[in-house]
């Protein structure tokens, strides 16, 4: 009897502890995600001054030529970026997964490299390489007397964005291609189908869900990106308009909020469309009695062609890094295919005066990553392992951050927290911790996915065994679940950290003084003046190295922890 009572109390206590944790997370999300976004939407629908509900702001939006043009430009650029990114990703994914291809791992790794540099930094390097008077065009002009407008106007944005974001398609597509059981193809061959027809009729349809997932992500990312068009001096796109409106006219002007609302709507629409297209198409074909992946050996000429294509694409997508590296060592680089001379001066300068950016970035991104994995682990645990009421809501809210453009979050924070005064009279919105929170919110969906994946791999029976041996729920989580999830949690941390380290859209709004600014902001400032490009490039190279080193380190740690658990083969 006493025992039964004790047990019951124990259960209640567990429930209360979980509920408290869940409530804290819910409050955090409510405060820093839902409220700011709701504020933005609310302002967009209220009349300036009176505060009455109105559509007039949207009517104004639709009547303003600049905004309509910006909207269509954004749609065009995003769609074209998806197309071009697909052109890069499709051959790489196919060649490295469906064929025996030496260096496949290297290519898959190099394919990631573009992601670890802010696209606007790449934009500067791309100007120097592909711009009207860039290396390529100067050479083309010399040899053939022609110039190709790679970087003119919207083209430039499409080109830079496609190169930056194509890894999203590459990764997702490769994963689905790798999941196609060889018997799927063999059955088709057995029935008389081969070659390109086989790819078109069987392989590609099966990989389509992965492709769509990647493509929709690219679309949304490009649609929301702010700094790349600004640096390429393209102002008539939607995200830059939102930023310019709020920074030039002020946070009271409703038009910035209308644009922000449109950005959210398009993001949600794009994600909804891809989810709808994928519904019922979860083609995991790895099956019992199946033979795993089939990798075809290439004939000699096929192999030669494959190498040519792969090198061409890799050359293109790595060009921004190469350009940046050259620029960071260049004395003067203008109207010539290569820099006039080389120097270390930019690095000395950057280390001297810009070290604070690096320090801030490491601090902000680590804190954001930490917040993300704590929230991610907790939410994943609530959803997968408990019957807590409202747990799906937590998951839903955390994932919804994916559909909130950085500019929108930035604007929302300004509007919501500017009025909140700290004891010293300083507005809450101007505190550096707000940058950290914005970064954490923006990256939470990625960390959450990683935590889900990690938790799903842990069999429930392992936890039950611990409880059976007398460990309470909380102790089971601490002693069994978290240690087993380490790899996944670290993976979540690194993806949050490395993307937060180069994020700019939300930060651009929130940075108040350059002593609080992270790297990406510093880069942006440097890159805006021609004289700042050398030091900017040096800073960019440092940022890339920083992120790459962290990624590599985490990879090592994950490998080791998985190896210790016997998870890796």
């Amino acid at each position: 009897m006493a025992l039964a009572l004790l047990r019951r109390e124990g259960v209640v206590a567990v429930g209360a502890g979980q509920a408290a944790a869940a409530a804290a997370i819910a409050l955090f999300l409510l405060l820093f995600l839902i409220t700011p976004v709701a504020t933005v939407i609310y302002v967009a629908f209220t009349e300036k001054g009176s505060g009455a509900f109105t559509f007039v702001n949207f009517y104004d939006f639709a009547r303003t030529d600049l905004f309509v043009r910006s909207f269509w430009n954004s749609v065009y650029v995003s769609a074209m970026a998806v197309v071009l990114a697909s052109v890069f990703a499709l051959p790489l994914a196919t060649i490295t997964t469906r064929f025996e291809f030496r260096g496949a791992l290297l290519i898959q790794t190099l394919g990631f490299v573009p992601l670890i540099m802010p696209p606007f930094v790449g934009a500067v390097a791309m100007q120097l390489l592909f711009g009207r008077n860039g290396t390529v065009n100067l050479l083309l002009d010399d040899w053939f007397g022609l110039k190709i407008p790679f970087m003119e106007g919207l083209n430039g944005v499409v080109f830079v964005q496609a190169i930056h974001y194509f890894p999203f398609i590459l990764v997702n597509l490769s994963a689905s291609l790798r999941n196609i059981d060889r018997s799927m193809e063999e059955a088709a061959q057995n029935l008389g189908c081969s070659g390109f027809r086989l790819f078109r009729r069987v392989v590609f349809p099966l990989a389509l869900p992965g492709y769509l997932a990647g493509a929709s992500l690219v679309f949304v990312k490009v649609f929301d990106d702010l700094a790349t068009p600004l640096l390429l001096n393209v102002k008539d796109m939607l995200a830059p308009q939102a930023y310019l409106r709020v920074t030039s006219i002020g946070i009271a002007d409703p038009m910035g909020y209308v644009i922000a609302t449109v950005l959210i709507a398009v993001s949600i629409l794009a994600m909804w469309a891809s989810a709808a297209a994928m519904r019922g198409k979860d083609y995991s074909t790895a099956q019992r009695g199946g033979g795993g992946l089939s990798q075809r050996r290439m004939r000699r000429w096929e192999s030669a062609l494959a190498y040519f294509v792969v090198f061409l694409i890799l050359g293109l997508v790595l060009a921004p890094h190469l350009g940046l590296l050259l620029l960071s060592f260049a004395t003067i680089w203008s109207y010539s295919p290569l820099p006039d001379g080389f120097t270390l001066a930019h690095y000395t300068r950057v280390f001297g005066e810009s070290f604070v950016y690096i320090k801030n970035t490491v601090l902000y991104a680590s804190l954001a990553g930490l917040i993300d994995v704590v929230l991610g682990t907790a939410i994943a645990y609530f959803v997968l392992r408990t019957k807590l009421v409202g747990r799906e809501w937590l998951d839903w809210a955390a994932s919804a951050a994916l559909a909130v453009p950085g500019v929108v979050l930035g604007i929302g924070y300004l509007r919501t927290f500017y009025g909140v005064q700290l004891p010293g009279g300083q507005p809450l919105a101007t505190l550096w911790i707000m940058i950290v929170i914005a970064l954490a919110i923006r990256r939470l969906p990625y960390a959450l996915r990683a935590c889900y994946a990690a938790l799903q791999q842990i069999s429930v029976s392992l936890e039950e065994a611990a409880e059976n041996l007398g460990a309470t729920k909380a102790r089971t989580v601490r002693r069994v679940v978290v240690p087993l999830m380490t790899g996944g949690i670290l993976a979540g941390f690194i993806s949050s950290f490395s993307t937060a380290a180069v994020e700019l859209s939300a930060t651009l709004m929130l940075v108040q003084s350059s002593s609080d600014a992270p790297l990406a902001y510093g880069l942006y400032i440097f890159m805006q003046s021609p004289a700042g490009r050398g030091p900017g490039a040096a800073l960019g190279v440092i940022a890339v190295m920083l992120v790459a080193a962290c990624a590599f380190l985490t990879h090592l740690v994950v490998e080791r922890s998985q190896g210790a658990q016997g998870l890796s083969s």
């Binding site: 018997s183 059955a187 057995n190 009695g289």
Partner: protein
Amino acid sequence: MPEIVQNEPVRVRGDALQPLGVRVENVDLSYGANHVLKDVTLDVAPGEFFAFLGPSGCGKTTLLRLIAGFNQADRGRVLVGGEDVSRLPPWKRDVGMVFQSYALWPHMTVWRNVAFGLEERRLPRAQIKQRVAEALELVGLSHLADRRPSQLSGGQQQRVAVARTVAIRPKVLLLDEPLSNLDAKLRVQVRRELRDLQQRLGITTIFVTHDQEEANTICDRIAVMNEGKIQQVGTPLELYQRPANLFVASFLGAANILSGEVVGAGSDRAFRLGEVFLPIPPGATIPPGAKLVFRPQDVQITGKGSGAFSGTIVHREFLGAMTRYGVRVGGTEILIDAPFHAGDRLHEVGQEVAAMVAPEAMLWLAS
């Protein structure tokens, strides 16, 4: 009109198709250092229902995939209908294969799955329609044509996989453990259906399984494989009655395999198991090092008599139609199956009994 004749690929035959034989000649195949098929030679007669039977990992799937063209032999060749197909890619072989996993394409409906091979053969639309309908009719799934594979039960998926393969009217039908993903009851039903279907189509069929009962019940002939080698080829009865070696004897049904020593000479020869001597029937030829093999039901528990030996019952399993006794004789244990009839009394564990092996049931096999 000549065009129409050309539209009709040669390999599409009418309903009265002439079954073709399959011949595998001196095939060797390795995966790296792993020598998986060792000098395999095999003849499957036209129209035959043939089985590859063997334990897991012995190379059955490998051999089947070799015939389908998914594996390349290091040596040897494969002939279908007397024609060497070793150099043909899978899509030119016209050898229909049903995969163990069924390999139904999840992005196509049942109808589209079945139509796939016909479309690849560029048949006219009307003919595709008719042949898909026929194939679905054949497996009794016409009403599910619009479903996706994920909306079908295991047994239905299996039948779609069969329909998809027979729709192209292949020269030979290959089935890789087609029943292994089904539950025990369905397995019995589906294997009958498969046999029926094969009889109706008259198509040469090779069936891979590691279940001897499956092979015995539906196949005309069986090739028993072990460690990449064909151990014996024959009808189920031949294999059971006259196993060529110890592996075949033990793999097909229960067998007592006794090692001992031949003592005496001429008509007084006996097989010594510890202190017990079993008389050897006159005229038996015993290869050197051979073991004595006999089936449990070929031993009878009798009163003492000539040729009988005695032992102690150490365990007993009542199985309904018969009782299986474990009897300790000399140093070894012998299984004895005694049929059970109403009113029979069972022997008790610990009881001493005398037993006798029917002389014609004794086999002397070397490994």
